[in-house]
């Protein structure tokens, strides 16, 4: 288990040391492949917990780790082409930072200790903030500052919440520990007002990291200004591990008997996120910011599923995987379009389907997937969440959910169609930035995966999702 954490870190050190600009992206590829190999070995071998129970490959980790690993590998391949095109910018910090990010995300997924979880999440913020500034423009600097400040603020509040939870267990009969196993075993022995207070702060803190409304203010700026590659990893990987952190908190709350309170809060915030995303998606003029609001929407869907519990929670686990992969498609394709036209604005970009014969249609297909069209996999995960809502008699929740999904479909569709359709002559063009196999192949592969998962979901994966939902107390 240490291999998957330490291998990317070692390669990050290598990347910092290597002086050659051209060779450095290979470290990314090597790190990604090693990580993927390690995760596959872990999945097959089913190892026992290590470090005294601090790290364990439990069902939640099984959901998120493979997806993160695959996403990173694909992005690493994309990075070869992307960084070669951006040879004028020093990529030392970029490559090293991404590898450290991979390691930190792995720790978050595996961690069974709330303190270690917190440290790793803070590390994801710190290691990605400088990367947003890769463009070295005033706008990306502003985005990086807002991201750094808002996320650090949220994480500090999450630390307070973690301490509250520890305090809840600090009484004479309590577990006096931050290990999930101890906390869930203690159950109702945990002091109730402190568990609630802790949950509130942790929801605010980790919700900021995920990008749930109303804590999402950094997302449009950060995702809008970051390179497409980083956007894919942030919206596919980092938000997913933020969700895992939140799920672990819910795990503790359910064991302590506070699940009703926690679930209501999650459902509320989930619907609020979807509503806000719907409102801001309409008339969005920058297609990368549009993707950020799509991320807010999907985090809302995840929170909603987790809050509803049961089959919906299992659907939320499935959706974590789907969202991650689909966001990869969207951001990488959007990155290609941005680079080819030199602009992110909808009024300047049109006809992407003709100028970029792979990336353009990919963007359109990605849009269809992310808004839940069959036969892509997000349809099935979103459907099971809807099923869960209606099945437990929550008609209002289900109705609002459908309504927001439709509004988002319309809003996003208008923007995407404007970008993809039409005649590209007359639109700004950056020379030598068409589709190549390195830049268009990876998102195509991810889309294939999304399609595959939609058409055929292996039974073993379904069992993992159900086990993860049960772990959280669904």
């Amino acid at each position: 288990m240490f291999f998957v954490i330490l291998a990317p870190l070692a390669l990050a050190a290598v990347a910092f040391a290597v002086p050659s600009q051209g060779r450095r992206p290979l470290a990314l590829l090597a790190g990604g492949l090693l990580h993927l190999a390690g995760v596959t070995a872990l999945w097959l071998a089913r190892p026992a917990p290590v470090l005294g129970g601090w790290l364990e490959l439990d069902p939640l980790a099984r959901v998120v780790l493979p997806m993160t690993s695959v996403l990173f590998c694909v992005c690493a391949v994309y990075a070869q082409g992307y960084l070669a095109r951006r040879a004028e910018r020093d990529n030392r910090v970029f490559v090293g930072g991404l590898l450290v990010l991979l390691s930190a995300m792995t720790v978050v997924a595996l961690s069974q200790h709330l303190g270690l979880l917190w440290v790793a999440i803070e590390l994801t913020t710190l290691t990605t903030a400088p990367l947003i500034y890769f463009d070295k423009s005033a706008r990306s600097l502003e985005a990086a500052w807002k991201y750094l400040l808002v996320c650090s603020l949220g994480i500090a509040l999450a630390l307070l919440g973690t301490f509250f939870l520890a305090l809840a267990g600090a009484g004479p009969g309590g577990p006096r520990s931050l290990l999930l196993a101890d906390l869930t075993r203690a159950g109702v022995a945990l002091s109730s007002p402190w568990v609630r207070a802790g949950f509130v702060f942790l929801l605010v803190g980790y919700g900021t990291k995920m990008g749930l409304a109303p804590l999402h203010s950094w997302k449009p700026d950060a995702y809008g200004e970051a390179p497409g590659l980083l956007g894919a990893l942030l919206s596919g990987g980092v938000t997913s591990v933020g969700f895992i952190a939140l799920a672990r908190v819910v795990q503790v709350c359910s064991a302590a008997g506070e699940s009703a309170f926690a679930r209501d809060a999650l459902v509320g915030m989930g619907l609020l996120s979807m509503a806000l995303a719907a409102v801001f998606m309409i008339g969005q003029r920058d297609f990368k910011r549009m993707l950020a609001y799509s991320s807010v929407e999907h985090m809302g869907i995840l929170a909603l599923g987790l809050g509803l519990g049961g089959a919906a929670a299992s659907g939320a686990m499935f959706h974590t995987v789907n969202n991650g992969l689909t966001k990869g498609v969207l951001f990488l394709a959007a990155g290609n379009i941005h680079r080819s036209y030199g602009s992110k604005r909808v009024d300047e970009v049109r006809g992407a389907a003709r100028r970029l014969p792979i990336s353009g249609p990919l963007f359109l297909a990605g849009f269809l997937a992310v808004t839940g069209s069959p036969p892509f996999s997000p349809f099935f995960s979103e459907f099971s969440i809807l099923n869960g809502a209606l099945g437990s008699g929550r008609w209002v929740v289900g109705g609002l959910y459908l309504f927001f999904l439709s509004v988002i479909f319309v809003g996003m569709g208008a923007t995407v169609l404007k970008v993809v359709q039409g005649d590209p002559t007359g639109a700004p063009e950056v020379p030598a930035s068409g589709d190549t196999w390195l830049t268009a192949g990876p998102p195509l592969l991810l889309l294939g995966l999304v399609l595959l998962l939609g058409l055929f979901l292996p039974r073993e994966l379904k069992l993992v999702f159900d086990a993860a939902a049960a772990r959280v107390g669904g």
Binding site: G115, A138, W145, L167, A170, S191, P220, D221
Partner: protein, 217 residues
């Protein structure tokens, strides 16, 4: 004075420093006050836990916190304001006097809240929770209402101070690694913020975050 009277004095001094941070506009004074607060809090584990057996671990934590919060981070911030040649905070979004009053109200509420929520470990000092919450509230006010980037970073530092106070409640069973990790994260966060501020100053020739408002919907 008894040992607990000294600790009470330290907590009260921490809250008084909170008020000073909210009211002052001189950046050097604010940085020094935040450093003093951090140094005071670094001494707290020794005052609270001087009778336990793990003196070595407590001492290490205190010295680490003192160095990071009291020396390294203030040096970094003083360097930042020297680089950017700024000395005063401009009138913040929530003015100085309303900030001070809001801070006072926050402190009162923190004391009220903490007497309503009983501690599972009642043998700990009664002022820890209200002081922690007051300092967190002060830090939050500073981050949200100040315009200069340096002041926002100081707000973040003060917020972490407040969380640190709260962590003192758990010092007897929190593993050393997590505490060290928290301290390291604080240092790393402020370091990264310092770098970004350096770039902001270079790009905009100012650390006024009013200039960072191009991105919006």
């Amino acid at each position: 004075m008894r040992m607990s009277a000294w600790t009470e004095m330290v907590f009260i001094l921490v809250v008084v420093l909170d008020f000073f941070l909210l009211a002052s506009s001189r950046l050097k004074a604010v940085i020094r006050a935040a450093a003093a607060q951090g140094a005071l809090l670094a001494v707290m584990p020794l005052l609270l836990a001087w009778h336990t057996t793990e003196l070595g671990h407590v001492l290490a934590l205190s010295i680490g916190a003192l160095v990071v919060k009291g020396i390294v981070i203030p040096r970094l911030l003083l360097w930042a304001i020297r680089e950017a040649s700024i000395r005063r905070e401009v009138e913040p979004i929530v003015g100085f006097i309303p900030s001070l009053i809001l801070g006072g109200v926050g402190v009162a509420l923190a004391f009220a809240f903490s007497s309503a929520m009983p501690l599972p470990t009642p043998e700990q000092h009664a002022f820890i929770v209200p002081t922690a919450l007051s300092t967190v509230w002060t830090g939050l006010l500073l981050v949200v209402s100040r315009r200069k980037a340096v002041s926002q970073v100081i707000g973040f530092l003060v917020l972490e101070n407040g969380v640190f106070v709260f962590g003192l409640l758990l010092s007897d069973f929190m593993p050393a690694m997590v505490e060290a990790g928290v301290l390291l994260d604080l240092f790393a966060a402020v370091f990264v913020m310092g770098i970004v501020m350096f770039h902001i100053n270079r790009e905009f020739s100012s650390l006024d975050t009013e200039k960072l408002s191009v991105l919006k919907d």
